[in-house]
Symmetry: C2
Subunit: 621 residues, 2 copies
């Protein structure tokens, strides 16, 4: 069989099983080529997917999906799974509108067991499925695939702590790539490093697995300051293993790129009398040199040049990078300022801060809950912690923002990245809830800048002018172009455009669309004024007083409608006896699948054309 | 010195330090008497506070607060701390309006370092404080006091995982009372049980602590089905200790009621060169026989008779108990129904379910995140999991409800207990956010019954009529009295009272107040109709169509105003062109301190009298 023809024959895992195990490495090569080609075109998660090619092939070779079920944690490593389960003919649609999701999506395929996108959920879900199988007298396997990064999330422990009730058909596969998204820090990463370094102990203990070659001891990048903790952990590893102690049969570690060892260990796991915990060592970016050398850069990537590995976009022209740089400039002058990330140093633009202010930088692991309360602890003693986090992931910290930060008025700053539509990552990552959920929390201040200059202004206000919790929310990507005559302002809201009885109310990057809409409408003899909210919580009474004077108000909100700022504004106006017309355009009570951000804004009539249409339609009625 | 006079002399920890260590046991006796007397009058957390009398005395004897800082996890064990830090003269005001909080409250005293009320936050906060001390060049101690129950919460692990960066002045004290709120389940509880059983190993290892008597091996109530896991854990304990392996100097376990041993071990912890983890064994309810025998019943209690231990109220006349009983009746007929609690079996009324349907009952530990996603896993395979949880604690599951349940439309039922004002537990426990935060999540259905009959009806609808996530929210305590002629209905809303141009809109138990207000208003020639929402999300269009016909609408909401149902309704009406008057009475943008629920409802004009006043006032304007 000529290379290049194997993958085409795999329409389902049943086809995979027809191959000889010796053909699998060639299949893996084909898969890697397909992955690199698709991601270089469409963008996506490359390094993580390249790391699990052999693991995924081995899983489908050994297990019988969809009878057996695989739950991928976070889900950004499910591309090979998609290729092997009848979706390769659509793989060029990856992350495109109406195309394949970049994450498992049960509505897309019966092989996608459980949704994923946020971290550390797989063991909980798999345990639930295994319990349901128990009640239904089914003896199918349920396999959770979780990375070492996701294992730093507390929810994974809650699940491990509880999964002792699982039967023997639950298998947890630890995909240990030694760094997850950013470099893992903390006890767990060190713990795993020690396990990795001592395979022979487990080889003896799990005598069925034979001999494994020694794996080099710990990535060089482990923080030296943490070395002493590592030594403490070592003692444990010589003698015991936490996962066994939690009730699992521990198997591993094995080389996650050796198909013979992988299929053997998975077959062994099936025979265990307790739930099994299988430890696999993989290399992020495996098989594509640029990604292997710089897996963090190739975690989530835009389209790039395969030959050079260079992305087709400017890595500094985005809100994340600009936030990080401005934070450095503040930290230079003010030694109270600290930065916190939950395993997203690069994604949130904190690389420079990490380099220049090492002692004031914290990567706490994928631990948004801890991050918020840790920040509170620092703040009550006079530090000014800034937690940079994606809007969608901040959902994990809702209770901590409310209970630990807001009740006792801790001065912490939330730098809420990727607020609004995020585009291709789809429904699990849309940042359309933060405005609404922060709006429910008393005493929180929320800024929503439209460009970099406003971002800096908002951050400055958040650090120096706000008591209590301050959030600064900004979108994914680059700043929009604003009119040359628009001046950022420190006031809670700004007026732009000529006086009119009709106003657009909006905030964040939609302001750019509103300006364009206003120009178009002006040409169509429908002048509108723009009321731009710089601070979306709290809204000042003077805003509502002013809004009372308009005949027609059109609120455009890049966020969920229910509980959003547009509804809040409506309620204030109605109570004041507003008699004009009021129209909300926002994200309706639904989740938003993947598509380019501009397409989604278009669909919801949140772009300039949509705004123009909405206003003209209303006029014609 | 006569017994009974020691406590009176303690106006601050400095006074405590003047006592001879031999006087401390007598002091502890006085403290216990004071605690039992106060809680029997005011209600509160008894068993947990009785368990830490000696520990708290020892802490203040050894450390120098407020320079050194104690962070109590959950905080319902801080009464002795309050008695010793200048608050004993006000202790009879415990949990009363304007009185002492039942939880640490920094605004109440400089000795209360950090707010608490929700679980598993203390290590995060203490680590943050210790980092701030590092920057400020302060070498004061920061002490986190955390129970074995709180250690099942994932956030505690996130913090332990990260706390390796802490300096040597961080001390974590594990108050191991072997059961926390409900009986602990899972690997951690078993792990601790094994440590407890082998004190001599650590006595040797930590050679400074001398000899400890053997503690009986594990409470008898440990689930037999989990015994095999326990055996696995044992291996670990003979040889290693997870907390040491995470970078802490482990000390203990010691008898938490022996003041000599306690002061010795705490003094030793101060000298450690790494952060210290001090393991203390305590007995919940220590010193009050009824509480020792039944610590779960004496966890959070209403006022009770000291002589008999009997509470001054009916333990079955409350929504929690009624929910649990009805769930049993459903489970009897339908074997898909499972019940989940996060360490609140008794509090959420699931005791009967646990007894009768042992195989379908799950206490997952204090792990609301895991609980939700675990439920999702069961649901996608056809089970119907019901997660019973306090409204305030459900905040922890916001992301999981949104991301794991709602996006993939999992059919799970949330039985949201203590929704609305909870009264004496104060700001950390008020259930006033669930309506607003659930309202932001697409596709969720929320019922808000007013009495037991409606509770049953709502639960039935949630289980049999709703696709996707269904929440049934109900208040703390007993059902209110509704008019005899009122009939519960399955429709999303009901009308009650005579036709009028003025309507009260409300939901939940406020409906009883609305009925009373309507009667009073009728007598004052101000007839109002009541629009009662049975289902607060989604609200049907027919509701808004109908509301358009009223001249005056008064929405009374026992929940936060921002993002609440009243604002949502206002926005719908304003967009439809409603020209009448609209008035919202709700919880303003603030947190609500402790007071009896009726007093708080009164203050916010959410009771019958308040409703009457609001409507009459508006009329006179």
């Amino acid at each position: 069989m000529r290379e290049g023809n194997l993958l085409k024959r795999i329409n389902s895992p049943a086809d995979l099983k027809k191959l000889n195990i010796k053909q699998l490495p060639a299949l893996c090569d084909e898969i890697r080529e397909t992955l690199i080609a698709a991601v270089s075109e469409n963008g996506g998660h490359l390094a993580s997917n390249l790391g699990v090619v052999e693991l995924t092939v081995a899983m489908h070779f050994v297990f019988d999906c969809p009878r057996d079920e695989i739950v991928f944690d976070v889900g950004h490593q499910s591309y090979t799974h998609k290729l092997l389960t009848g979706r390769q003919h659509r793989f060029d649609t990856l992350r495109k509108e109406n195309g394949l999701s970049g994450f498992p999506r049960p509505t897309e395929s019966e092989y996608d067991t459980f949704i994923a996108g946020h971290s550390s959920t797989s063991i909980s879900a798999a345990f639930g499925i295994s319990r349901a199988n128990h009640y239904k007298m089914k003896d199918d396997y349920v396999i959770a695939v979780i990375g070492d990064g996701a294992l730093t999330g507390g929810m994974a422990y809650e699940a491990l702590n509880n999964a002792g009730k699982a039967g023997s058909k639950l298998i947890v596969i630890l995909n240990d790539n030694k760094m997850s998204i950013s470099k893992n820090v903390g006890a767990i990463a060190r713990y795993l490093a020690v396990i990795r370094s001592k395979p022979s102990y487990y080889a003896i203990k799990n005598r069925f697995i034979g001999f494994f070659g020694k794996i080099p001891f710990i990535g060089a990048g482990i923080k030296s300051g943490l070395e002493r903790l590592k030594r403490g952990l070592k003692n444990m590893m010589y003698t015991s293993n936490m996962f066994e102690d939690m009730g699992f049969s521990y198997l591993g570690p094995v080389d996650g790129h050796d198909l013979g060892k992988l299929t053997t260990i998975l077959a062994t796991a099936k025979k265990m009398k307790r739930p099994a915990f299988v430890h696999i060592n993989t290399v992020k970016g495996k098989g594509y040199s640029f990604a292997e050398q710089n897996p963090k850069q190739f975690h989530g990537v835009p389209a790039f040049d395969i030959e050079t590995g260079d992305p087709f976009c400017d890595s500094q022209d985005n809100f994340s990078y600009q936030m990080g740089q401005y934070l450095c400039s503040l930290a230079e002058e003010d030694d109270r300022i600290c930065a916190i990330t939950a395993a997203m140093t690069e994604g949130t633009g904190l690389q420079s801060f990490k380099n220049y202010f090492k002692d004031r930088f914290y990567d706490v692991g994928i631990a948004e809950e801890h991050a918020v309360t840790f920040a509170c602890g620092m703040s009550i003693k006079g530090m000014v912690p800034v937690f940079a986090v994606y809007s969608s992931f901040l959902q994990r910290g809702y209770d901590q923002i409310l209970h630990d930060a807001a009740i006792q008025k801790c001065k912490i700053v939330l730098a809420v990245d990727r607020a609004g539509i995020v585009g291709e990552d789809g429904e699990t990552h849309q940042g359309v809830f933060d405005a609404a959920f922060l709006n429910t929390i008393p005493g929180v201040t929320v800024f929503s800048p439209a460009n970099y200059q406003e971002l800096f202004l908002s951050l400055h206000l958040a650090v120096y002018d706000v008591d209590g919790v301050a959030a600064v929310r900004y979108p994914r990507g680059a700043q929009p172009v604003l009119p040359a005559d628009y001046q950022p302002s420190e006031s809670p809201f700004s007026l732009y455009g000529s006086r009119s009885g009709t106003a657009i109310i909006t905030y964040g990057r939609l302001f750019a669309h509103a300006c364009e809409a206003a120009r178009e409408l002006e040409e169509k003899d429908t002048p509108v004024q723009i009321v731009k909210l710089n601070r979306i919580k709290p809204l000042p009474d003077s805003l509502f007083d002013m809004l009372m004077d308009y005949d027609k108000l059109f609120f455009f909100e890049e966020g969920i409608r229910s509980g959003g700022i547009a509804e809040h504004t409506a309620a204030k106006l109605l109570q004041k006896g507003y008699k004009g017309s009021y129209h909300i355009t926002a994200i309706d009570d639904r989740f938003i699948p993947q598509a380019p951000s501009d397409v989604i804004l278009r669909r919801f009539k949140l772009d300039a054309r949509g705004m123009t249409e909405v206003i003209l339609e209303s006029k014609s009625r």
